[in-house]
């Protein structure tokens, strides 16, 4: 292999920071994803706090109109693209290979590339607060995003960082599609896949199909902004409604991209802590697939008031309402699972049960929106944020917290504090209802969303005050969660391999798992194989607590690599180059960045895949 034009040796045993920069271990990448995304969630939370403070009473003057508009845009974009999606990706990374009995993902370096690209996009978006962030709303309706309306760099940052985040998501999604189809342990048929893996698989397929649409929409917007194309230019016959279609063709599948992994987590946690297998495994899988398919046929329910006409609205009303059916199937099957079980109310279980209770509220208000005739009164009022936070906070975030605590022993090797966990659960549970439930009231009382202030004579002050109070509770709740995780990650009690009496393969290996995951690739004989093993039809050894691993050194793992990081760094530089394209030499910075990126990819593609010692024997 030394004949290749670039033969920088692969980093063999890097230490310290290089260890993390060059790692291609799916578990470490998962942790990187998780920590970064959680920080992003906090930043979105701080933005939310500022908004709520501004709205605490009528005609307050804490942030200006311009800043408020940036706040909600950045808050929405952050929470969706920088918090929930990458938090899901953190679980994909950490959990899926363990659940399917694999030693890594199919493309370990591509995986590292996804993370670094995500980080590049996230940093880029967040840094745009310096000098003015985007303020066109998280769905950036044309023509508010046009140069005439919005000449600053805020929108450019938003566009370019979403494009980069798209690259990251696509790379991860391709990776997980192949991993799940192709890296399953012997005997792990598709219908024996753990539910979380199944939902992630469906999510990955949704991602792969949905992201190109927003990529195209953003490209069109970029061309309009940079080169005066006419896509959304009304003066030349362009249609601003086209943007809405393209955005929501992506946007609605996107909300299922946010919720399906969450549903997967809940479907893992509930059986474990009910001591029962998931009720109706096949139907739950099927329902997930149907949701994903139907999710493509409903996008115009975000556009009921745009004037598509009665017929189109009627069609999208029907399709949207029907999507409640497969979702209901899932909810009922979770109920069926706990029914007759033996429920242990651990912290992760509480979050999962909380998920069901809260997501139901959000789902029902979703169906209320679907009734387009009455949605004419609700659309663009606070009733929408009420719905969206019940499904996203009460849904996605609750499930993610459930997952964070459920797999905590696995990724940290330590136990967290149950008591503290429960207290913070109740704080968050109460806090979210105090914060978000009043939004239903003010919404129906005619308060539009995205207003930085309101008059005192509208009757909205009381419930807005309450909502703001709720954020305080949420804040304390999250501080407790952070303390619990942070403190115990370092100093918690050591966790046994299987603290919850789990059902799936990740609990059959030590906590934290060794680098190679499985000393021997397991052979799978049925659904919930690990549970069956423990029940006595034992064909597998239960590992001693603490795990062995002495024999692990003859397992070949792919080597760390510099190039994913270098390629992502190139992309980051190029992205800045696109925004500041007239710096010094026109497009010079972009060219430099692209060159670095290309060198990275090129060196990557020529890098020996396996460990260099082996290759030198050729």
């Amino acid at each position: 292999m030394s004949t290749f034009p670039i033969s920088i040796p692969r980093p063999v045993h890097p230490t310290g920071i290089w260890n993390w920069v060059t790692t291609i271990d799916h578990k470490r990448i998962g942790i990187l994803y998780g920590v970064t995304a959680f920080l992003m969630f906090l930043s979105g939370g701080v933005e939310a706090i500022l908004m709520r403070v501004q709205l605490a009473g009528p005609e307050l003057d804490i942030v200006s109109a311009a800043v408020y508009n940036q706040l909600f845009t950045m808050h929405g974009t952050t929470m969706i693209f920088l918090a929930v999606m990458p938090l899901s990706a953190a679980f994909f990374n950490f959990v899926i290979p363990l659940q399917i009995g694999a030693r890594d993902v199919a493309f370990p370096r591509l995986n590292a590339f996804s993370y670094w690209t995500f980080l590049a996009g996230a940093l880029m978006l967040k840094l745009s607060w310096i000098g003015g962030a985007t303020d066109a709303g998280w769905f950036g309706y044309a023509p508010l995003t046009s140069v005439a309306q919005n000449p600053g760099t805020g929108i450019d940052f938003w566009i370019i960082s979403l494009q980069i985040l798209g690259v990251a998501s696509l790379a991860a999604a391709f990776n997980f599609i192949v991993t799940i189809i192709n890296m399953r342990a012997p005997g792990m048929t598709m219908m024996r896949l753990p539910l979380f893996t199944w939902m992630s698989f469906i999510t990955a397929i949704l991602l792969v199909l949905a992201f190109p649409v927003i990529t195209v929409a953003l490209i069109e917007l970029t061309f309009d902004r940079y080169f005066m194309f006419n896509f959304f230019n009304v003066a030349n016959g362009g249609s601003v409604v086209l943007w809405q279609h393209l955005f929501w063709v992506f946007g609605h599948p996107e909300v299922y991209i946010l919720i399906l992994p969450a549903m997967g987590i809940v479907s893992e946690v509930i059986p474990v802590f009910s001591k029962k297998p998931l009720f109706g495994y096949k139907t739950v899988v099927l329902a997930g697939a149907i949701i994903a398919f139907m999710g493509w046929m409903v996008w115009s329910h975000h556009m009921f008031t745009v004037g598509l006409g009665a017929v189109a609205n009627a069609v999208f009303t029907v399709t949207t309402m029907l999507i409640a059916v497969p979702t209901g199937i899932k909810v009922f099957n979770w109920l069926g699972t706990i029914w007759g079980g033996s429920i242990r109310f651990t912290t992760p279980m509480l979050y999962s049960l909380g998920f069901i209770a809260m997501f139901l509220i959000g789902g029902i208000s979703g169906v209320m929106h679907a009734v387009s005739a009455s949605d004419a009164q609700q659309q663009d009022t606070y009733f929408i944020p009420a719905h969206l936070h019940y499904v996203l906070f009460g849904g996605a975030i609750m499930a993610i917290l459930s997952g964070i605590f459920y797999w905590f022993p696995k990724y940290s090797g330590k136990m967290f504090n149950e008591r503290q966990g429960k207290i913070s659960f109740w704080l968050l549970m109460i806090g979210q209802n105090v914060t978000f439930f009043p939004m239903h009231f003010v919404g129906l009382d005619g308060m539009p969303r995205r207003i930085y202030t309101y008059a005192g004579n509208m009757g909205w002050d009381f419930w807005n005050g309450v909502a703001t109070g709720g954020v305080l509770i949420l804040l304390i709740g999250f501080l407790l969660v952070m303390d619990n995780i942070g403190r115990h990650w370092k100093n918690g009690e050591p966790a046994p391999p299987d603290p919850w009496d789990g059902r799936t393969l990740e609990w059959s290996i030590p906590s934290p798992p060794p680098e190679y995951n499985f000393e021997e690739i397991p052979i799978v004989r049925g659904l919930d194989d690990w549970w069956a093993t423990k029940q006595g039809d034992s064909y597998k050894e239960i590992p001693a607590s603490g795990g062995s691993g002495e024999n692990g050194h003859n397992i070949h793992l792919p080597q760390p690599s510099y190039w994913p990081f270098v390629s992502a760094a190139g992309l980051f530089i190029a992205a800045y180059g696109v925004v500041f394209n007239d710096l010094l030499i026109p497009w010079g910075l972009a060219a430099i960045g692209l060159t670095i990126g290309f060198v990275g990819v090129y060196a990557w593609s020529l890098e020996p895949v396996n460990d260099p010692e082996e290759d030198s024997t050729h």
Partner: protein, 367 residues
Amino acid sequence: MRLQKTSKTSFLLAATLLTLLITACYPDHNQSTFDPQGPVASRQLGIFWWIFIGGMIVFVLVEAALIYAMIKFRARSEFDNPAQTHGNNRLEIIWTAIPAILLLIIMVPTIDTLFYMYEAPKLHQPNHTLEVIGHQWWFEFRYPDPNNPEKEIVTANEVYIPVGYPVPINLGSVDVIHSFWVPKLAGKTDMVPGEENYMWFEADVPGEYYGQCAEYCGTSHANMKFKVIAVPENEFNAWLQTQAASAFESSDALVQEGAGVFKSAGCTGCHATKTVVNKGSTGRVGPNLAHVASRRDLAAGMLSNANENGIVNDALLQENLRTWLQDPNEVKPGNLMSSGAQVYTDPDKKLSEEQISQLVHYLSSLK
């Protein structure tokens, strides 16, 4: 039978509770969707209650089942060994079918209402089609000129409608997407640049109805409000006639001076004081000021000139005009007057206190 009764009672209970919760603590609910004053809003509220009942039933049943199961099946000992049931096909079919049926039932009135919203109402009286044009951040209204069908009359931020008549409305925008919404009369419809949208509403009783832009449209989206004032037909016709007249020309010296400043300071570049225009002609950048002194609010709902009965109070109006002219940006962040008018962008052309007083006098004479 009994089921019907209980669900009806519980529905009434829930509805009262909800309405109370939302409206109890405050007397003013100017944009409440629970207080419909016209047929369209009533139908929409009706359909809301339908889906609300459906949702409540699902909510109560599912949450109850969840809580019951949580209590009933909580672990009593470490060694509980529950039966390992894997599923039940009959149950699966039942809980697929029931929601589907429930939804199909709700779909019928929904679609019915949907078409009702779009249907052109039979007009009892022709030619009262209201034209609404969105501007950042104010509303332009146009009616056909009662004296000349070829022409239109223009006004802004406040519009009268005849009680008991359906008002067909055409919606458009000159810049970005806005949304036209008077909660007590009807749900919203967007005002999309480059497209023409249609809706209609009708007021059952005379009154003042609050409206607000409902689609995010830039910096001062929160400050884009208007009023619809429903009056009996004869009053409406009288109003149309006053609106059709051009600005009142007073011989008062101060007003005359003000009119002079209005021209010399470049206000006429953006504001017209003539109301009759050709059909479909493009409007000015700023609101028509021919009858600005007759409006209950200034600057799209930012400053109120009227007392509780809706009578414009001259002193208040003058004070408001002064506040506005001194620094429009203070009243309404980002508004296009302070960023576009030379008297605000060019420090050399700044209006003097005296000029402002003259302008205030002039403008407050424009009844």
